[in-house]
Amino acid sequence: MCTDCGCTAQKEHTVHSRDNTQVHTLANEPIVIDVHQSLLFENDKQATRNREQLIQHNITAINLMSSPGSGKTALLERTIDELAGKHRIAVIEGDLETENDARRIRAKGVDAIQITTGSACHLDALMIANALQQLDLKKIDLLFIENVGNLVCPASFDLGQHHNVTLLSTTEGDDKPEKYPVIFRAADLVLISKSDLLAVLDDFDPRRARQSLASITGNTPLLQLSAKTGDGFDQWTEWLHNSTLTHQQVK
């Protein structure tokens, strides 16, 4: 007999009432607990806290993802120049090792926090929370998070960002979106970077890249740009400006 409710059940049983669920068990019976919780539950909770903190300070956070060497830091350097006087920018840099990228950003007169992940292949929400503590949030309205160069893992970890931007450089295959669908599907915007090289690369066709992207995402916008020549930056900075929280509030 169950000593909880006095019923004659021989096994563990569940009793539902209006406001709770009770599991009644007999001596040493294994009990089954229904959880239905994401494996990233802890990370997602922290990411939500980060997002709330950013919103409180009216900061828009953009998470940049791509393979290593696709030009994320070069994109940021030029973006900082283009947005000078228009937005107050800070950057969180993620790399396995070195402060090199943060140094490049600081040389532009912008605050940069370098996260070195050691061997970890992605940034997570807790690393971002720690980096946010080191920034003066009152002085920023646009925060870039340069994720670890990797087309697999960063897609799964919410950091608290408002938008994901995935880069595809012209030195990679134009079928990358189909090969790494998770990260390209996570993107709110895809950038084809290093467009200045299209003239000398005959194996990257932007049209094919567009088709490849469409086959996995339908209607994710795609822009083409070069951090070297500045080609395509007008559209990119316009997208950025329109994506900021302040702009969306005004709208």
Binding site: D4, Q22, F41, V152, P181
Partner: protein, 124 residues
């Protein structure tokens, strides 16, 4: 590639659940994983014992259900199971499809063994 990190997160959740229910051991763990979660199930299975060693979960059986990816077409409204990673509607060829399932990675349930000899009572 981040299976080890996921296992650490999972273990945190398991410890919390085991504590709440005053469990002496975790007998089994049931996960559901879709093909778009970015998880290699085999790698996850191999990573888990490394992380669980020396914890309440070290002898737990890890059961993983792989669930299929399904999409609903926004043009013709038909639902279909994806073949590979193909988001195109097999009925009308449209690329405007909505993912219904396939990116899940959830801890569905846990079976716990308990300390007490007496019957116990849990509220969650």
């Amino acid at each position: 590639m981040h299976e080890l990190a996921l296992c650490r997160g999972l273990l945190q959740q398991l410890n919390q659940i085991a504590d709440e229910h005053q469990a002496s051991a975790i007998k089994s763990i049931h996960l559901k994983i879709g093909p778009l979660a970015g998880i290699e199930i085999e790698l996850l299975k191999r990573s888990f014992p490394l992380v669980a060693h020396g914890t309440d979960a070290q002898d737990a059986a890890l059961e993983i259900t792989a669930i299929p990816a399904t999409v609903q077409c926004q043009e013709c409204d038909k639902k279909s199971e994806m073949e590979g990673i193909q988001f195109i509607c097999p009925h009308c060829g449209s690329t405007a499809t909505m993912l219904l399932s396939g990116d899940e990675m959830t801890l569905e349930s846990v079976v716990l063994e308990q300390h007490e000899v007496k019957a116990t009572h849990h509220v969650h």
